[in-house]
Assembly symmetry: C2
Homo-oligomer: 152 residues x 2
């Protein structure tokens, strides 16, 4: 029987009373689980955000999608490149403005998204089943309030 190293008992002190730290730990747990479940699709949370927004806003430009997600438009290039390489999304020339690209899901992308969102919702369920009664609604409301808080 090999010697077992005992991890030290850690006092989390202030961290245990800070919502910011709880928020971070919960988000890390959520994203790790998401990545695990969606790795078979080759999809990360970031890629999913872009794909989902294009799905629900076909024809929007890269900059519009980037702004909606709070990303810089320069970061969109490699993301769209990757989704295009997966044949799930395509750039089309904009008819109204020749500077911009209109983004669309491909036919294959529509099928892909249908399967993907099913898996994402299963993942969501995995966490939602931890909640009782009206907790889900309360959490959703509060997280929206947190996100909306603009620091002066």
């Amino acid at each position: 029987m090999p010697k077992q190293s005992v991890p030290p008992v850690i006092n989390y002190g202030d961290l245990d009373n800070l919502m910011g730290y709880k928020l971070r730990r919960a988000q890390v747990s959520f994203f790790e689980s998401f990545a695990q479940r969606c790795s078979k699709f080759g999809i990360t949370p970031g890629l999913f955000g872009v794909l989902s927004l294009v799905k629900h806003n076909p024809g929007q430009t890269q900059t519009a999608i980037a702004n909606a997600l709070g990303n810089d438009r320069s970061a969109m290039v490699s993301v769209v490149d990757r989704l295009e390489a997966m044949n799930v999304l395509e750039r089309k020339p904009s008819v109204s403005d020749r500077r911009s690209h209109a983004l669309f899901l491909t036919l294959e992308g529509e099928t892909f998204y249908t399967q993907l969102i099913e898996e994402v919702k299963k993942h969501e369920q995995q966490f939602m089943q931890l909640l009782a009664g009206d907790e889900a609604k309360i959490i959703a409301d509060v997280l929206d309030r947190f996100a909306a808080l603009k620091t002066s």
Copy 2:
């Protein structure tokens, strides 16, 4: 009067119903606000986590602190280097194991932490005042449950 570019109306679709996305947006908001408030201390959320854990667990090794925070021990090196350069934390040779370093707050670090935690708690208040009644306790509980969920 300069021409005003009107941002397109975006339909957030599925994202609006996914707790994972709400969680991410809330956390980004929280951390941006934290960084803003604590920039005068030269402290990021990551640095604060280490400093706080050393404060409440004086004499622990780098690896113990790293494990408690879910980080790799290799990532601790530059963090501890930075906090040591700020004269708020110090490595001392461990008496029981000459391979490891015991971490402590310096005298200056104790004062620093006292001022820092005051600011951090003000920051926390800024978000907590968005909550009514027993919401804070519910959120804390739920986020702990989310964090504890281990994906098989």
